[in-house]
Symmetry: C2
Subunit: 119 residues, 2 copies
């Protein structure tokens, strides 16, 4: 999992624990891809001030991950789901069209375990 | 999901956010099945005092669940996994022993998504 994907997942899972201001600046920086300088201009604070807020927000998200491991669990689930999808696909050759359709439907259900994070 | 299963899951997921004392008393009450009176005797506090700690601990766990929904996600995952296992089992009749063995192996992998909570 690359670092930006991980940051996005951390924010999805634990964003509720940030203050409104931390969330705003975190989103501008990581989701809307604004630079520290651009954010600083909009907020009338220094670049260092923006950096400190982003860094503090990241630290908070990381602390929650250390206690709860939701990103780690998600990554583990993803790996297992991929393996299951592979095994299912390997069943297809040699089976009739009816079975292949049913297997593809099961693949969709297995893949959906990831899309909605098990919800 | 029954209430005690839910309390156990809440504790598994969010127990790290309780103080050591809260964890001790919570475990004595819910995992070791001691009564409030028995715990009060061991700790030299009133039954009401023990009740307050247990109640406070439950409130903390519930607040984390409201923000993070790990128990809700787990319950959703469980439901979907059961449906997938059912669909896989329904494939078996009419297939050769070789396919049935491979499908049972896939079922084990699907079931393991729950056992380890996706880790």
């Amino acid at each position: 999992m690359d670092e930006l994907t991980k940051i996005n997942l951390l924010y999805d899972f634990y964003g509720d624990f940030l203050t409104e201001k931390q969330r705003e600046i975190f989103e501008l920086h990581f989701l809307n891809d604004l630079s520290l300088g651009e954010i600083a201009e909009n907020y009338g604070v220094t670049r260092q001030g923006v950096y400190d807020i982003v860094k503090r927000a990241q630290d908070i998200l990381t602390e929650y991950e250390e206690k709860l491991g939701m990103v780690r669990r998600f990554a583990g689930l993803e790996k297992k789901v991929e393996k299951i999808l592979q095994s299912l696909k390997e069943l297809e050759p040699g089976l009739s069209e009816d079975y292949r359709i049913r297997i593809r439907k099961i693949c969709d259900d297995v893949a959906s375990l990831l899309k909605e994070g098990g919800e």
